[in-house]
C-alpha cells in the first residue's frame, strides 16, 4: 500500500505540473491548447540536446527548455492565436489552430530531433528502499520534489505578483480587468508564454526519468485534458487536484487491477464519464464557466 501511495504521489506531482500550463492558457484565453503535449515533448528534446549533445549541466538544459518554450509560447500567442481570436468569434477557430500547431510541432520535432527515443542520464543515482515497503529511485524523489516546488512557486507567483494578479483578474472577468487598466493583449501573451514554459519545464524534468519521443505529445495532451476535466477547466487548484487524483487512480488501478488485464484506463474513463454526468464542471469549476 505504501508503494502504491508513493507511486501515486510521484505521478500526481508530474501530472499536476503538466495540467497547470494547460489550465492557465484556458482560463486566460478560453483556448483548448491541443499542442500542449507537443510543447512538453519539445521541452524534453531541448533539455536532451543541451545536456547530451552539448554536454552542458542539467540545470542549463532545464533553463534552456523554459526559455525556448516561453519564447515559442509568446510567439504562438502573438502571431497566431491573438489574430484569430480578434477576427473570429467561433471557438472552433482556435481549436483548429491549436490542432494545426500540434501537427506542425510534431513535424518540426521529427525534422529537428529525429524519430528515436531520447533520454538524459540519471541526474542522481541510487534507490531509496524502506524495508521493501517503499522503493523509489532518488532521481524520481528529486523530480517529484522539484515538481511540487514548481507548483508552489507558480501558485505564489499567481497570488502575490503584479503579473499574476493581472492574469487572475483577466481569467475572472476580461471586460472588468480591461476597464481597470489591465493590458489584455500583453497579459494574454505572458500567460500563454508561462503555460508553454511550464510544459517545457516538465518535459525537461521528465526527460531524465521517462525519456522523450516524437509520439508522446498527443497522449500527454489527452491526459492533461483529463486532469483539467476532473479538477475543473480553468481553475488552477482544480488542475493540481486533477493531476494528483489521476496519478493516484493510475497507481491504484495498475496494482489492484493488474490481474484482470489492462483495464485501469477503462475504469478511469468509465468513472470519469459517470462523474462528469453528475458534475460536468469538474470538482472545482463553476457551472457558468
Amino acid at each position: 500500500m505504501e508503494q502504491i501511495i508513493a507511486n501515486g504521489l510521484y505521478l500526481g506531482a508530474q501530472y499536476a505540473l503538466i495540467a497547470l500550463g494547460l489550465t492557465l492558457i484556458f482560463s486566460l484565453m478560453n483556448v483548448l491548447n491541443f499542442a500542449h503535449g507537443q510543447m512538453y515533448v519539445f521541452g524534453g528534446f531541448v533539455t536532451y540536446t543541451v545536456v547530451v549533445q552539448l554536454g552542458l549541466p542539467f540545470i542549463v538544459g532545464l533553463f534552456a527548455s523554459a526559455i525556448v518554450l516561453a519564447i515559442m509560447g509568446a510567439a504562438i500567442e502573438k502571431f497566431l492565436f491573438a489574430p484569430v481570436i480578434r477576427r473570429s468569434k467561433r471557438d472552433e477557430s482556435t481549436m483548429l489552430l491549436a490542432a494545426g500547431i500540434a501537427f506542425f510541432l510534431d513535424a518540426v520535432i521529427l525534422l529537428a530531433f529525429g524519430e528515436k527515443q531520447r533520454g538524459v542520464p540519471k541526474i542522481v543515482n541510487g534507490v531509496f528502499n524502506w524495508d521493501m515497503r517503499i522503493i523509489m529511485p532518488y532521481d524520481r524523489i528529486l523530480i517529484g520534489v522539484l515538481a511540487i516546488l514548481l507548483i508552489v512557486v507558480f501558485i505564489g507567483f499567481m497570488n502575490y505578483s503584479r503579473t499574476g494578479r493581472a492574469m487572475r483578474a483577466l481569467a475572472q472577468d476580461k471586460m472588468a480587468a480591461q476597464l481597470m487598466g489591465v493590458n489584455v493583449a500583453r497579459y494574454s501573451m505572458i500567460g500563454f508564454a508561462l503555460g508553454a514554459m511550464l510544459a517545457g519545464l516538465v518535459g525537461g524534468l521528465l526527460v531524465t526519468i521517462t525519456g522523450v519521443n516524437l509520439g508522446m505529445g498527443g497522449p500527454t495532451s489527452v491526459k492533461a485534458f483529463l486532469m483539467i476535466m476532473i479538477g475543473g477547466a480553468g481553475v488552477i487548484s482544480g488542475a493540481i487536484a486533477g493531476g494528483f487524483i489521476l496519478g493516484m487512480m493510475e497507481s491504484v488501478g495498475l496494482t489492484v487491477l493488474s490481474a484482470y488485464g489492462d483495464i485501469t484506463y477503462l475504469v478511469i474513463f468509465a468513472t470519469l464519464m459517470v462523474f462528469l454526468a453528475v458534475r460536468p464542471q469538474g470538482l472545482m469549476g463553476k457551472p457558468w464557466g
Partner: protein, 395 residues
Amino acid sequence: MHKRTFLKFSALAAATVLSMPLMAHAENATLKIGFVGVTSGPAAAWGISNQRSMETRAAWLNELGGVKIGDKTYNIQIVPFDDQKDPKRAIAGMEKMAQDGVHYVVGPNVDDGAAAVRPVAEQNGIMYFPYAFPKELFTAPASNAILGMVANYQSGPAIYKYLKENKGVKKVAFVAANESDPLSQRESGIAAAQALDLEVVSGNVTYQVDTTDFTPVLLPVIQASPDLLVLSGVSPANAPQLIRSARELGYTGFISTETGQDATVLQEGAGELAEGFISVGGASTPELASDTMKEFVDRYTKMFGEYNDESNTKVYALEYIIETLKANPAAIDNVEEYKKTMDTFEAANPFMKGDAKLKYVGMTSFGQKRQVSVPLVVNEFKGGKFETLFVGQVD
C-alpha cells in the same frame, strides 16, 4: 571582358559535367518500390529505419548507374507512405501503391496493418514484405506476403532454450503493451516457454504504449520473482524505461525481448541498468558484417546523421526484391513470376562475410518459402553496445 568570358565558359563546363550523370541516369527506366509503414508516433523508429535503409541503398545503386534487370537498366525510386500504425491508413497506403503501379512493397511494420493490406495486395498483384508475425499471412492459401525478419516464435524459443540451458532460468514473466502485436507475441512466447517446461509466473500484465512511469506496471511482475523477464514486442521507445524501472525495483534476473533495439537509445534511456539485456539483432555484428554492410552504415549515417541498429535487418528487403527481379526479369510487373522464382532463388549475400546466400526460407514455420533468410543474431547489451550472444538460422 576576358574574365567574364572565362567565367561563362567555366560555368558552362561545370553545368555540362554536373549534368552528365543526370543525363546518364535519365536514360534509365524507373523501378518503383513502395514502403507502407509507420514513420510517425512512438513506433516511428521501426518504419523510419525501413524507409531510410531503402533510400540509402537505392541512392547507392542509382549512383552506381542503376540496376540491370534483363535488358533494361533501372533507377530505383522509393515511394513511401506513413500508415501511422493505423490499419485503415495502411490499406490507403497499399491502394496508393496499386494506383502508382507499384508491385513490390516493403511493410507494414505491425500485425494488424499487415493483415489489413492483404486483400488489397492480392487483388492488385503486389508482393509485400511485412515486419509482422501472423502465420496466416505467410501460409497457404496466402502467397503475396514475405516475412522480412525473424519472427518471435522463431527467435523466442531459441533465446529461452539458451537461457535455460546456460544460465539456469526456470521461471519466466511476460509483460506486453496492450496492442495486437505485443499481445500476440506474448501469447506465442508463453506457449514457447511452456513447451520448454519453464514456469510462467506472470503472463497477464500489460501497459498502455503511452505510459510514462512503468514502476506501478512492473511492481506485481517483479513480486512474482521471475528468473527471466520477457518484454514481448516492446518498442524501442518503451524498452529503456521498462528495463530501468525493473532494475530500480530491485530485479536482478535476465531481461529479454524478441524485437530489434537500438544501442544508443538503450544507453541514453537506461545506461548501465541495461547491461545484460538480450534482444534480437541484425547482420552487422563485427563477426558477420561485410565491407558492403560497413559502407551501407557509413552512407546511411552520412545521409541521415545517425545510424539505426534496426537497419541491420531492414537493409535486406530491397536487396531481395532487386536480386529476385534480376533472376527473373519477367517478374518486374508480374508477381506470379516472382513467386515461381522464389522456390529456387539464390544469390550472394552482399551484407555478410563469406559465402552467405540470399534465399527464401520458411518451410518449417509456414510450409512454403515466404520469409527472407537473415541470420538470427541474438545480442547482449554490454558497455553501451551490442555483443553477439549466439547466431542461429531459420529454415
